[in-house]
Structure formats: C-alpha cells, structure tokens
Symmetry: C2
Subunit: 762 residues, 2 copies
Amino acid sequence: MRIIDKETLIGKRIPKLDARKKAVGEAIYVHDIELPGLLVGKILRSDRVHARILRIDTTAAELLPGVHAVLTAADTPGKPLGHGRDNPPLKGDKVRCIRDEVAAVAAESEAIAEEALSLIRVEYEDLPPVFSVQEALADGAPVIHEKHPNNIPFTYEYNHGDIAQAENDSDILIEDVFKLHYVTHCCMGVSGAVAQFDSDGNLTVYSQTQVPFLYKKDIAPVIGVRPEKIRVIQPVIGGGFGSKLDIYPFEPICILLARAAGRPVKLIYSREEEFIASPTRQPVELTIRSGVRKDGTLTFRDVKTLHDNGGYTSWGATTPFVIMQTISSLYRVPHCSYRTTVVYTNNPYSGSFRGFGNLQATFAVESHMDKLAEAVGMDPVAFRLHNAQKPGETTPQGMVFRTCGLSECLTTASDKTRFVEKHRSYRNGEKGPLKRGIGMASLLHVGGGAKIYRSDGCGTMLKIDDYGHVTVLTGSTEIGQGSETVIAQFVAEELGLAISAVTIINNDSEITPWDVGVHASRTTFIAGNSAQRAARKAREKLLSAAAETLGVPSRELDLRAGQVTRADTGEALLDLGKLIRSLHFAKKNEIVMTSEYYEPPSVPQDREFKGNVSASYAFGTQVVELEVDTETGVIRILKVTAAHDVGRVINALGIEGQIEGGVVMGMGYALSEHLQVEEGLVNNPNFRDYKLITAPEVPEIDMHFIETRDPEGPAGAKGVGEAPAICTSAAIVNALYNATGKRFYELPLTPERVLRVLKSGT
Amino acid sequence: MRIIDKETLIGKRIPKLDARKKAVGEAIYVHDIELPGLLVGKILRSDRVHARILRIDTTAAELLPGVHAVLTAADTPGKPLGHGRDNPPLKGDKVRCIRDEVAAVAAESEAIAEEALSLIRVEYEDLPPVFSVQEALADGAPVIHEKHPNNIPFTYEYNHGDIAQAENDSDILIEDVFKLHYVTHCCMGVSGAVAQFDSDGNLTVYSQTQVPFLYKKDIAPVIGVRPEKIRVIQPVIGGGFGSKLDIYPFEPICILLARAAGRPVKLIYSREEEFIASPTRQPVELTIRSGVRKDGTLTFRDVKTLHDNGGYTSWGATTPFVIMQTISSLYRVPHCSYRTTVVYTNNPYSGSFRGFGNLQATFAVESHMDKLAEAVGMDPVAFRLHNAQKPGETTPQGMVFRTCGLSECLTTASDKTRFVEKHRSYRNGEKGPLKRGIGMASLLHVGGGAKIYRSDGCGTMLKIDDYGHVTVLTGSTEIGQGSETVIAQFVAEELGLAISAVTIINNDSEITPWDVGVHASRTTFIAGNSAQRAARKAREKLLSAAAETLGVPSRELDLRAGQVTRADTGEALLDLGKLIRSLHFAKKNEIVMTSEYYEPPSVPQDREFKGNVSASYAFGTQVVELEVDTETGVIRILKVTAAHDVGRVINALGIEGQIEGGVVMGMGYALSEHLQVEEGLVNNPNFRDYKLITAPEVPEIDMHFIETRDPEGPAGAKGVGEAPAICTSAAIVNALYNATGKRFYELPLTPERVLRVLKSGT
C-alpha cells in the first residue's frame, strides 16, 4: 500500500515557469519576431516642444528606394488615443512636447528608414512654451489644447468629515509642501510592436500591452479596424511596471504603416527613444496639512496636489484615485479633504507606474507621520500603532478592511530592527561625518483588484489531457510579475499535480477569455481566483468519477501526486492518468474541460470617490537603516526590513522577488533616479546619466510575511505586486532625518541635494 | 420596427474560410516555417530492397563543417513505429524496401546536408528479395521480418450466413479475380516536419499529421519523450487524403535530429522522395465469387483477398476492415464469407488513402453486380434496386442504416442520365472506332465516424468576445476538406451570426481539446456535432439572458443577424453585442464560455467484426458516360453523374468540391495513375511519368444531393469526404464494358491495356 502524504505547493519557493527560457535566451520578445516580408518602422519626432505644424513634405522620403510607406496625420483616421483621448497618433495641427510624432516610415531596413526620416521636411511655427504647472496656470498662459483653455483637463475633489471642526479639535497643526520628480520605468525590453494584416483585413498585433482586451477596444477607432478583427498576441514582455497600460502613438503608427505598406511592420524603440518617448511617473507638487491631538490621535489631513500632466493625458492623470486612498485611509483619518488639479504643460507626459501615485502620496503622508509623532513626543512606532486600523474596519472612504495586518507589519518591522532603541540612539548622534539613521514608513494599497471598469474580472478555460497534463487558458497577462507561475500553482494544488503538469496559455486574445489586464496588483487575486475555481470544478469532476470507480464517497477522496488517494490515510487508490483515460475511453467518453469567470465582490466608487473598490487591501511597513556621509552627501542603505501583509504567501520566491524589486525601485526613486526634464527636453536619455540602483548598492533585505489570510483571496492571498515599491522612499527620508535632523521634501536624495540641505541648514 | 427574416447558412455555398489565405500565398505551410537557428534535416535511404546492414560509417559526415548531427539506429530509443509497430525510424539490422532510412543528418544548409549524406558509407550484405505476394507465400521464401517467418503479419476472416447453402440456393455463380495496383496520394504539399526542443525538454513538432492527439501518444515511445511533453502544431496542410494518418520515419528522425543538434530542424521531402517514401494505396488481389437467383436476388459473396503489405505494416494493412463492409453490406448479401491474407514483401508499403480499401472492394463488387445483372437478364439499375437496402435495415454485419438513400441515389443517377435507355443502345454498338458506353456503380461508406478506437469523439471549447465574435477551439483537423468552414457554419447558425464572426482554432494540441483525428469521413459529423452542441449551450445562455432583460420567455426569442429577435415575427429586440456586454459588464459579470465533448452512439466491432461501428452510413451512385477509341485505346470520360446521400447539405460548395475531387481521384485510379513498382523500385517518381488527371480531362460532373436527414447528424448531415472517390472506377469499367463488350479486371485503363484487351479478345 502506497501512502502519499498531503503536501502543498502554497507558500513554497517555486522558480518562475518562464525563468529558464529567459535565462537561456529562448524567450521570444517582440524584438525577436520575424515574419516574411517584415519591414522596419521608424517615427519622426518633433524637434520642438510647442509649435504649429505648417507643412510636412514627405516627397523625397517616398521616392527613396526601399521605402514602402510614409505616413503623416493626413493618412490616419484622425481619432486621438490615450486615456484622455487627446493624443493623435500622428500630429497634424501642432506639437505639444518633445516626443511628438509627426511622420513615420516603413522601409526594408533600419538604415533606409532612418534615411527616409532625414528626408522629411517639417515646417513649424513656434508657439510660446509652458514648462511648469505654475506657468500653465498663470493668467494669459499659452493654451496647450484648445479644448481646455485653462490648461486644466481634470480636477479631483474628495472630502470626508469636516476639516474646520478637525482643526479646532487639533492640538498641533503642521503643513508642508513635497515635490516629487520625473522618473521612468526603464524596462529592460524597450517598447515595440509588430503589426500584420491578412488579406481578409484581420489584424494581428504583437504587442507588449498589459491589457490586451482593453487594447482591442481602445485602439480600434484610432486605426479604423473593428475590435473583433484585432488579434493581440503578447510576446514575452521585457518589463511592464505599468508602462504598457495605455496605448501610445507608436502602436497605431506601426499598425497604420503595415496597412499602408501591405506588409508586416516591426517598430522598435532605441534606448534613447525609450527614455524620451515612453511614459514617466507623474510629477506631483503636494501640499499637506495634518493635525493631531496631544494624545497622538490624528485628526485630519488636508491635501492639495498639482500634477504636471505634460502635453497629453495618459494614465498619469488618474493617479489621484490612488493618492486619495492613501491620504484618506492610511491610518485612521477622521477628517479629510483632498483636491487635485491636473495641468497641461509642454513637458513629457506620464503614465501608469507601479504604485500609481502611491509613492508620491506615501512619501508625503509618512514624512508627516514622523513629524507629527515627534511633535507629540511619541516614537514613530507607537504613534503609528495608535492610529492604525484594525481588521474589520471600514474607512470613511468606504474601503472595507476585512483583514488588516497594518499593526502586525508595524510591530514586526520594528521588533526585528529594535527600531525604537536605534531611533533614539541614532537621533542623539554619533561623532564624525558618518551618521546613521533608521526610519520607517507604512503603506496601504489595493490588494484585490480595483473596480475602475465595469468588470474587474478574469476568465479561465481549462482542459486536461489523457495524461493528466493541464492546459489553462487565462485572460491574465504575464509581464514578469510571475503570475503564470502562481496560476499554475493554484491549479496544480487543486488537482494534486506537480507544477510541471500545468501549461499556462496567456498571450493570445483570440484564444484566451477576457481579463481587464495587469494593473492594481490584481492578477494573483483575480486571475488566481478564476483559475482556482476552474480547477476546482475539474477536481470535482475527477473525484466524482473516482468515487464511482472506487465505490468510495468523493468527500473521502483526495488528489495527491498524480494519484487519487484516501483523504484520511493518503492511501493511493488510483492513478489520475488512468482515471482520466477511463473517463475518456471506457466510461462516459468525457474529457475534463471547465471554465470560470471570476468577478471580485468589489464595487465602483461613487461620485464622491467612495466605495469598496477592492476586494482586499494590502499593507506593509518597511524600516530602512542607512548611513550618510555628511561631508559628501552620499547615502548608503545598510538594511531594509520589510514586513508585508500578503494575505498568504503563494510563491515565496515570487514575493521575495517582488519585495526585492520593489525596494530597489523605491531606493532608485529616493536616491538616484531622475529623468531630467528641462525646458521640455530630456537631458539624460541613457543609462550613464539616468542612474538606476545596481546590484552593488542593493542592501540586505530582511523580509517578513504577515499572513492575514484574506477570506476572498485565492488560498488567502492578497495582491502584492506594487506594494513593496511604495513606502521605501518615505522610510529613507525618515531615516535620513533620524541621522541628520534634516527633513527632505524633494527627491532624489543625490549627494548634491543632501549636501545642499545639510549645509543650508534648511 | 426592424424585421429580420429567419435565414439559414445550412446548405448555402460558403467559400472555405482559408481559401483566400491559400490563394494569395498567406497560408503558412510547414515548408514556410522559419525559426532561429533552424537546421536542415536529410535522410539517407537504402539503395537496395533487402539486405543486412553490416556497418555504417558516419565519421566523414560528422567531420564536415556545418553538420550538427548525424544519426543512425544506434542513436534512437530503438522502438519501432507505424500502425504495425514493425518499422524502426532508422534501420539498424536490415533494410526491407527501397525507402528504408539508414542514417540522417542535420546541417546548416541543404547543400551541406546532402554532401554529408554522400559521405556516409553503408556496408550491406544482400538478402534474397521478394517482390510479390506469391513469392512471399512460397515454401522457403526469404523471411522479411523474423517475427513472422511465414511473412504473414495479419489475416482477417469474416462470415455471415452459410456459403454452402447459399451456393445451393443460387441459380448462377460467377467467380473472378481483380487486381488493383499501386497509386499514391500526390499531395501538392510534400511531406515535412519541423521539430524544436526547449530547454525544459518540451518538444514542439510542426507536423502535418491528421491525428494530432494519437500522434502524441504514438510517437512518444519512438522518440523517448513523454506524450504530455509533446505539443503538436499543425501548419496549413497541403493535402492529406489519409497519407498523414500514420507516423512515418521522417518525423521521429526530424525530432531526434533536433534533440541531437540542440537546434530546431526542418526536414522536407523532395518531390521524388514524396513518390518513393510516402505511403501508397494498398495493392490488392481480390477473388470474388457471387451467386444470384433467377429472380435477381443476390445470394452470397465469397471473397478472398491477398494484400501486398510491402516491407512494413502501416494503415494499408487494415483496409480489410472497410473492404469487408462493402463485401458484406453493399446491397443485401444474405450469405458472406471474406478472408484476407496480408503478406510482407520487399515492396514499398501502403497507408491510409481516401476510401481506405473501398475503391478496391467496390471495383470488384460493382463489376460483379453488372455481370450478375447481365447473367439474369436484368438491367443494372433494376438489379441493384432489387437488392438495395431500405432505411431502417440492419445488415448482417450489424450496420444499422437508420437512413439509407441507396435506392434514391440509384434512381436519381439513372433517371438523370436516361441510363437504361442509353445502356441498351450503347450495348448494341455504334459504327466506327469510337464507342460510347454508360456504366454505373454505387457505394457504401461510413458516414458518422468509425469507432475503431475506444473513443471516436471530439472536444470543443467556445468563447464569445464582447462584440459577438466567437472563437471555437476544436480538436478537429483541417486538411483541406473544408471542416473549419462547416464547423463555423454550425456555430454561426446556432448563434444567428455571419460566418465571418467565427474563428476556428484547430491546429495546436496544447490548446485544443482531444479529437481522434481526420479519418473515416468523420469531421463534419463528429466535430460538427461537438461544435453545434457547444454553440447551442452558448445560445441557451444568451437567450436566457435576453429573456431576463426583455421580459420575454426565451422560447419566444431567436438569434438572427446579430440581433435577439422575436421568434415568430422576427422583430429585432436587442443587439447581440449589447446583450453580451450587458451580461459581462452590467448584469452578472459573465462571459459566454462553453464546452462539449461529443461521442457518437456507435460501438466497436466485436471479435467477428460485427457491430454498428458508425453512427451513420453514406451511399452514392455514380454514372459514367465515356467514349473509347478502339483503335488507340484512349478513353474519354464525357460526363459523370453523381447522386450522393449526404444526409443534408451543409456547405454546398464544399460538397461540390469533395465530389469533384473524388470523381477526379477515382478517374485517376481508373485511367492513368500508377505508381510503377518493379523489383521493389519506383520507376516513375515524378509528375511526368506518374499521370494525374489534369483540368482539361475533367468532364462535366452533374451532382445530385440526396438529403436523407440523418437523425444523429448535425443538422442532418452525414460524412461525405471519402465517398465520391469510391465508385468512379467501377462505373468506368462498367461503362467500358457497355461500350466494348470487354470486361477489365485490372487498372489503370491505359490505352496500352485497353488496346491489349480489345485485341486479345479476353
């Protein structure tokens, strides 16, 4: 008798299913796609930031041998794209920022394409430019888009409670202004697309989009092809981080070139183009006023933000949705007011970027939490714990914290670092130029999707072959976050199989069922639930067939290691492959196919931005220990201790990777990354001058998983993709204050800035 | 108010969905596949027909620059392949026929691969060859396979009734011997495969197989890869006709080369190789004895056949399964005996070929039917009608004819041609060397699959996108027969959509659910039923959602032209896309996904070869009118009138194509096609010497569809893929007899053979 113990894949360290393919060079990125007759597409961009286009002469380019298509705005359907629908794929009337696309060519080689671009003559009439929010809001400012004569495409206003009353109730009030800068995603795989029409007019786009199904809908009018005629195939994506959430002009340009040329076209950015013409994180100027009572109870937050929208509206303009969540609900905020003005300028425009405004919000909120704690004479931990929500609370914004590990994150991160003790001793200072500091910051983020569309769901179709190998067709998209591995875990877990027995198909909109796309840290939660439920249906079919075969009630059976076993003793009763084959060939002539569409029990926000927009919320606390050389301004991060409420660990290796990557991204935001936009130009479009954190600078990262077991999450999990990047920069400035007594309101903390602040005494 | 009349796609003339792609050159055949690092594979074949392999020296080939792998039998797992599991992919001990594979190379170009083959030295010891069934059965004949010292791998015996008694009951007995020759498929796309391993050891084969799921199972041991690690992708297949039903050595060779080289390998036949090393139609020597009573009642058939199996056993050896059906059940046969001996020789071996033995059987049976009719003084039509089954009959072999259009086929074909009148007048002869004749023959074939495996089923998964576009994942394979078009029709019909609203995915075993494969004219019937039922489930979901939205009972609703309508008046009530989007986004957050596994209600034959092996049976009668020049022996087919019981016409254009193609294939079998095998060699491996019927020789084909509306068939359809090829050659010899008074027992009816028979007087 063979006994198989119950084992679980949940919480194990599982290498990503695509890791080996990526490591050995087998992964097919968009750059690797070859098709018969493939042409090279290239874009001519504006060489000024605000100008009227008087004339474009493409004659010489069209005559160049090897050129198959030359496009200007006149050759497009004329519909704008992007989240704000204000961005024509090719600009015909005017240009509004340095990345603006004015013409494009498809040619037989990159050299010919570049020569063709050089032959296109564009005549401009310069317009007065606007390089800051303040300039754009000034009376008589040049107008960027005629539709918005005040240069304000969006405003947001959120309120709960009564700020005036809260001010009266407060013993201490503080107000500060924080200025957050431009950074960009720096995906290792630059942007690109391949487009091909067949002779029936069906379009196949090989796209890096994170949202293939929204993509079909949104790009359709821009290219004049009905959405059902568009097939989106996603090659392996070399990093997304939100940058592929919107559609940017290069994609319709590539498609329109393919149609014009009658041949497939590949359009791939250079690295310089990637820096200049891919989205950024939204720069924000944030004025925050907070109050507190002497007993340490937070009374209110009153926040106003100004967003530099750049020349067009992509997702960056919508970061207030997330910013206001942190303003209203990171810790108990009895009264809250939040106002945002989004302002067009002639700067580059911003998109979605991991954290989606939350890095900016958390930087301000957690800086203020430290200041408030100090003001009432409490240590940072005690102050935060005093104001932290407990499981079961609903915030005034309507977010329901069915589980909430915030307090546990705080105590774990502080206990593991002896935070209070170190914080006190560092503050008292050390001799010499090297100062040590410790700082903490927490975060709140959606952890169960975000119902910003009418559906936040994900579809799964599943089949099992005659050998017990499972194919899962999921709508969800893998952008490197490890979702296909987690989905395979859920399925393998339900069916008692090795993870190698599961193949995930997730890259072809013609084949996979709908999903809203990768955003809001939703894939493990939503696609995981969908896949788990589809697998559970398959499990039920198999156990019921096994029960019939074995004469044992199905509730007494389990699936383990490819066998049907007794649930109690683990006794192996029947090989799963044999059961499947007997179901297929001997008994009922059935094969196992199931499907599931999972929609989370969240609701859209109402007109006041209130409502339980996510089925779950993630929390975390990071403690940073650093050393700063007060003579050079150089900061060395010594250790980051990260305690994250992940609901439940599904793939430990995956979460470790997310935390490592998030912390490093947060460090880059705080310390070194800066897309230097001056007078609308990008001054450092390369990795020499745009400084990412690299391996030697990565500190020890001590991770602690707070498992609150979300009742709705698959196996208890919450989404955790974005969270680890969110509070690192706030913890760093808090630690820097602890070390130096100086507070920093702007990033990045370059040695120059650190020295300047230290020396200036402000 | 918009009124939409009920329209149907069933029976319409629908161009094949893949027609345009094929016509404009967009279709991707295996020949077109390019992969990074792709190598060219080539096979070294034996230059003798029966020999022991003493030594193979590959040293020089291995040293040739650009060669990445050289394989001999020693490099293979040693498991044989093919239906008889007697055919090692590379031969190590001995060679048994001219196509035998002894070594293979993978190299960077075809030229290098060919040079490498020329450097391989094989030392043979010749063995005495056997070139005919008679030689192989003689005492002391050389043994081809040690496992079968008598050279007989298979025998078949079938009986019903009592032949001795039947002979006593007969007034007339006749006996003849028919000899059927070698022909081959002549697919326009030659054989080939591309194989690629990933670094996880997963294999992707781009294969032309007609049976992807059986392929995985069957090739697994031959290549030493577990079936669940094999993904079969079927590029567009340039003709199958049964030739891709078995696995032939080139496929495992291609795969093993890819593994040895560590790079993908493409192995494509030359046209000469295609003639020499792809399967043939089984050559058969058939002795038939039939009896009849004076009143024209058939009393018995007693048939013995000898099958030249060639050097190995592929599907050709199993044609007796189909031959015996026609022997036992084409017309009422009260007593029947059938015996087959399958005999190894050193000739090329045969595979499955459209009709699968039925051309040979029908040639003999229908020649005899004419002889018997003449012997009892009846006209061919009256004699056949007298013996034809009626709907509802079960034949002694157990075939249940729930519908049977045989009599109607006979009367339609004869009425439309004024058969009896012409037959009488032609027989009386014309003056001059040009003689006209008319002849008829009928056929019986499976029309609802054939349960020769434990499942004869097909799986479907279906999803509908937000715009009402349907994706159908079907296990069935398109080999040019038009199945994807018919499947799309069934689905579009159920859902009231245009056929362009349906995409069929049918070429990737990882994605599509199981199907037994393309054979036995089963795809319209089985895959059609499966798809229709999956679509019906989707229809029910949609109508029930519409009923809820509209407050109208779903039975009063219909789906027409992309609208939900009233079933009675056709009043358009709701756009289907809107309904789907409201279901997805507004109401229940559901998307439409369904699945179905259809298993036909047929049973495997018992040990006596009895049982209702197909869910339906197809019938047909063809009348041929020809002119023969008695001075040159040249036959000109003037007209073919084909009346086929198709159950119900689904795609009229598709059936017309099948009938045209079948008649032309039958004409080729009768008149011109002949793979000239002499002393084991193929003497005419090219289209100059192997004469296909070409367009100028194609006569008028007058088609009549007998719609018997099969109760189990989808929309009443029966399978009709193979049928039209089956009885043409029999009708031709009967017409030739009518014209000349000479009966032909061998094919093809080349001018030389015709003249020889006419002159010899026999």
